[in-house]
Symmetry: C2
Subunit: 252 residues, 2 copies
DNA sequence: TAAATAGTGTCTGTAAGACAGTATACT
DNA sequence: AGTATACTGTCTTACAGACACTATTTA
């Protein structure tokens, strides 16, 4: 946007030591009434840092293949899961001398939201294991690097934003019903939400449009629900207030 | 926090090309009824990228001197301004192949808030110029690199958070009066704020404590005001609602 | 019909916005 | 007294929370 008018001679790159640069992605979904996060197992081998530990999907920036950090994050996602167009947002970066035994390292951390059915897990190029874990359970595991910290930050950011945005709509497939969406909110927040207040908020937000009544399925009990679709899948809607009182920080 | 139990052998660092890693700091203050941002002039010289342009203070991560990204940001601040303990928060990172003519580059961007009187500008080691600029005016300048974009993001984040936090308290010296703090809010937001609502919000927040009546100065007109001090200078307080309706995003 | 799920209406509480009013200093 | 600044009170409005109520389906 601004590096447009570049300077005159092709400048020489400084040649002092550079830190390692990586991108990690915290990929969330809701499945089986739980908020889940995707982890991959670190490869085995004596030279490998944190060999065999579970870690966030990620890896070094490839200056040949990646045009930008965002591209790099999308590539990591594509490699681990089927191609999708998730909600993707940067969380921040973590860098210091000790987080990676291979040297001074900085990681650019993103988080992403996908509907569970849209994902088809791929074994990595090196056939490493890839699995969904309950998010809070993953927090208590001994993850590689400082990934517990990254995951905690991603969880805090997600839960913070869920209080006042329509983010959970990116965690379920379209079209969705309001009771289903409410369930996703409750799973992410870990507490029940009042139905009436919830519906007023969602329908007042103007970010959804009706998508017809849900097709009746066999053995489906009760009154059928209206289904909805997002008007704009590129961003979340903001509500004028939080759900309860504003909780923790990391609305950041 | 988690990279504690490091793996066995001192792992070898991968030796493919690494991007450049830098840290930039958007330093804000309020002075002369305006929100101001600190800029430094890029050095002259044919080999220098964006020679002579104004830029955010920043530079390459020094893997010898900097223990972490935060340390690096504090060092940049210290080099340009007198040592201070500002409010400092990470904004995010920007990285791509084209933002720096010297090669694939990623910058870790922080923003900081300081009271104007606490700053004594230092000429950089290379005697470069350092100056405060009106923040919105700086946005319209042709800054170096993608710094217009970084500045825009910092401004959006700051203005967004000011709607529902006590952040402006970090922009004035302690002890401060409520009318003075209100003025800072108005300068940052660029709009007037209702006095009664403002005071109820601030005093209900419980994040300040009284610090005595303001000492009367010569020629000081009107009723003297109570002064306050922050209870906790390490973080901002959160209010249950935004000032108006929630505006733009970048609460992110 | 009962059971299950979807959806609405109404009352209350909280905090912001508007704005008029009072309080305390100075010249 | 007059003026300037600090501070308070009261009314309205917006929206979340609680919860009882109605609506529409299947078995």
């Amino acid at each position: 946007m601004s590096a447009s008018n570049a300077p005159r001679p092709a400048a020489r790159a400084p040649n002092f030591p550079r830190p390692l640069a990586s991108v990690d992605v915290v990929l969330f979904t809701v499945q089986a009434d739980a908020l889940q996060v995707l982890l991959v197992r670190r490869p085995d081998g004596a030279a490998e840092p944190f060999a065999g530990r579970w870690a966030l999907p990620g890896g070094f920036v490839d200056v040949e293949a990646d045009a930008s950090l965002l591209d790099c994050a999308l590539r990591k996602l594509r490699e681990k899961t089927g191609a999708i167009t998730p909600y993707l947002e940067q969380l921040g970066s973590w860098g210091n001398a000790t987080r990676d035994p291979r040297g001074w390292s900085a990681t650019h951390c993103f988080y992403a939201l996908v509907p569970a059915p849209s994902v088809a897990l791929q074994k990595g190029a090196n056939a490493t294991e890839v699995r969904w874990f309950d998010a809070d359970a993953a927090l208590r595991k001994r993850l590689a690097f400082d990934h517990v910290e990254l995951l905690a930050a991603a969880l805090a950011r997600l839960r913070g934003k869920v209080e006042y945005t329509s983010l959970p709509a990116f965690l379920i497939e379209e079209p969705f019903t309001l009771p289903a969406l409410q369930h996703v909110y409750e799973v992410v927040l870990g507490r029940p939400v009042d139905k009436s207040a919830f519906r007023k908020r969602m329908q007042g937000g103007g970010f959804m449009e009706e998508a017809g009544m849900r097709a009746a399925e066999a053995g489906q009990l009760g009154r059928p629900a209206m289904t909805y679709r997002l008007r704009d899948r590129s961003q979340a809607a903001l509500f004028p207030r939080t759900f309860n009182a504003r909780g923790t920080d990391d609305l950041a």
